[in-house]
Symmetry: C2
Subunit: 391 residues, 2 copies
């Protein structure tokens, strides 16, 4: 071989320091020093005794956070989208029917994923900012008779927390699995997997849990496992195959954990620490704080003359607030101004709410009144200084 044709890039030959920023978008949220420090601990093997103990502790922490006794509880080695694929890939065989509740972007994404693997997808839809009644859900279950029903608990694109009570029993009545995405809500809004009859539940590490993105807690009920472990076909992904993952996480009866893939060991350290913080705080205290801080924020917004996108107070997601984009302004100028002037991230809409809202996340350690005061001040200043057309 001749000498190298691609030279070392100049940009890598000098340091790239990362600035500190207040992360009040829909996630990732700020990572407390304690969690960063945990992630920076020495590397261990992905099957070393201590790593397995850490994974066992993560399992216990997820069982607590999800309020479940499910044996098959673990963290996927990837972001929330990998968990979404893990849930759908394992629970559906080609030709299986899935009913998807769509009231924002996450239902749309679940549909896209299920369609790709050859599932038959039906949707039950409502407008952005709204949610479905149990009557509407039962009607759709009765009509489509799906194998799996997908619902987003915290719809971060619209700022809606979807009611969960009563849907688990409906799914049992119609013999389907109840699959819930709680990436944006878990830890910040009440959800109890076992009591509410949820069969598959997942979340992300980078929202209320305040760990870096890259791992995704997930849990499967006995009913879900019964379907999954009796499939006729293998799941489409080896990397996300629950047979392998359950063994790697010690959730099966096999005496030895086989090598499947190399888990993100440092990210597991960080995830353990974030679950430890939740255990110390107490789930009910966390739910209460997120609710109070969100209500304090919503009151402040309304006092400024801003409007909340979600009309029904009960349906407002305590972790991510959607504000109607102030009339006459370009929302991009507002988020850009707040980033530049205050070094605070807030974001615009996503999917069905694109262009219609501003989104502010107050999640985990970021859920406190001091942050609310900061972001209210920043919003007031932005409305004063950004260009406003006549409306």
């Amino acid at each position: 071989m001749s000498s190298l044709s691609v030279l070392p890039p100049e940009c890598l030959l000098k340091p790239f320091p990362v600035p500190q920023r207040l992360m009040l978008g829909p996630g990732p949220s700020n990572v407390p020093a304690r969690i960063s420090a945990a992630g920076a601990q020495p590397m261990l093997g992905h099957l070393h005794t201590e790593t397995i103990e850490i994974m066992n502790q993560i399992k216990s922490g997820i069982q607590y956070a999800f309020q479940t006794k499910n044996r098959v509880t673990l963290a996927v080695s990837g972001p929330g989208h990998a968990a979404m694929e893990c849930a759908i890939f394992n629970s559906l065989e080609p030709g299986d029917k899935i009913l998807i509740a769509v009231n924002g972007i996450w239902g749309e994404r679940a549909s896209e994923i299920a369609e790709r693997i050859g599932a038959k997808v039906n949707t039950v839809e409502t407008m952005a900012g709204g949610y479905l009644t149990n009557e509407e859900i039962e009607k759709a279950l009765n009509k489509y008779r799906p194998a799996v029903f997908f619902l987003t608990h915290g719809e971060s694109s619209t700022g809606v927390v979807h009611p969960i009570d009563g849907i688990g029993p409906l799914c049992r009545k119609y013999s389907c699995l109840f699959l819930v995405d709680s990436v944006a809500a878990l830890g910040g809004a009440p959800i109890c997997m076992d009591e509410q009859g949820i069969d598959i539940l997942y979340t992300g590490s980078q929202k209320v849990l305040n760990a870096p993105p890259g791992t995704a807690p997930i849990s499967f009920s006995e009913r879900a496992c019964h379907k999954i472990f009796n499939r006729k076909t293998k799941p489409i992904s080896y990397f996300l195959d629950l047979n392998w993952l359950a063994n790697y996480w010690g959730c099966d009866d096999k005496p030895v954990r086989s090598y499947h893939h190399t888990g993100p060991v440092s990210s597991f350290y960080a995830l353990r620490e974030s679950l430890a913080i939740l255990a110390e705080t107490g789930l009910e205290n966390s739910w209460k704080r997120h609710k109070e801080v969100a209500e304090y924020f919503h009151k402040g917004l309304e006092q400024m003359g801003l409007k909340l996108f979600v009309q029904d107070k009960k349906a407002r997601l305590p972790t991510v607030t959607t504000i109607v984009a102030p009339p006459g302004y370009d929302w991009r100028e507002i988020t850009g101004y707040i980033m530049k002037t205050f070094n605070i991230e807030i974001s615009g809409g996503l999917g069905p709410s694109a262009g219609m809202v501003l989104r502010v996340g107050l999640m985990g350690c970021n859920s406190n009144k001091a942050n609310v005061d900061k972001v209210l001040e920043a919003l007031a200043d932005a409305l004063k200084h950004c260009h406003k057309s006549r409306v």
Copy 2:
């Protein structure tokens, strides 16, 4: 809802300190403090200006490490197995033919993944510890006429570095894409993607690069992109769909990077730092050091009376050495003794080499003569103290 039925787990209410250990298995390798510190920097948004700049620098770093000018060069948000699925999911449509070279576990895994998505899989096999000649490969290409040919560059289960020269032109002659897994070799054994006519190349972060596991550099040639971006069917995974990933990494012509998934921002910081270290060291210096250190190790092993598993000196992988399991000993006792007595990880075999070998990895910062002396001392001590039956 009633009060909580699952209580905070006791194990999370006390700290779990992680011990320091010399990681001389087949990976993950030790993470230098500089890389851990980079990963612990403040969290930013996955589409913030600075994050995009870091991703651009990672791209440049991968282009250097891979010796490629490919525009579609990025890091998958998952471990090496996710990159393997990304390569196979995108390059094959259902019914497409893939030819897989099997001389260890990685070819077996690639076969498993390709079969799951409905590709037609043929293999060309050779014994563990061996490699294929270009004549054997050409014969198989001619016989099976695949769309993709898969080869493992660094077969970490057997300790073989597979010759690459001449195979790229053969793949062109038979109009197939040349897909290479270099998870265990990249940075430690010479490979030049463009010059050697490789169409898809991927590696992991946790081997020679010394970053934590959880990201996987990958690159696609123009030929590969032509096939992938003109597919008739969508890739089976949304999370690993190259159309989306290429946009997220700024590898397409679109003016805006759309939200696809939340990248593991902290892991990107760490990966950037690991590529910076490689750029500072120089690829040729890194190759040379790994070769010299491995040869020094192999000489020491032979002086102790131990036998190398790979007969052909040229085919010995400089990053992971396979040693014939010492006759009369239980290999588990040896690795356990060395862990307990010296706090050094070395490992047993994997897949076709299970029970037959000991494996020692000397990768990235771990590739130095001081570590060789340590592991030789540990091995000598183990052979003295572990139980030996008559042979």
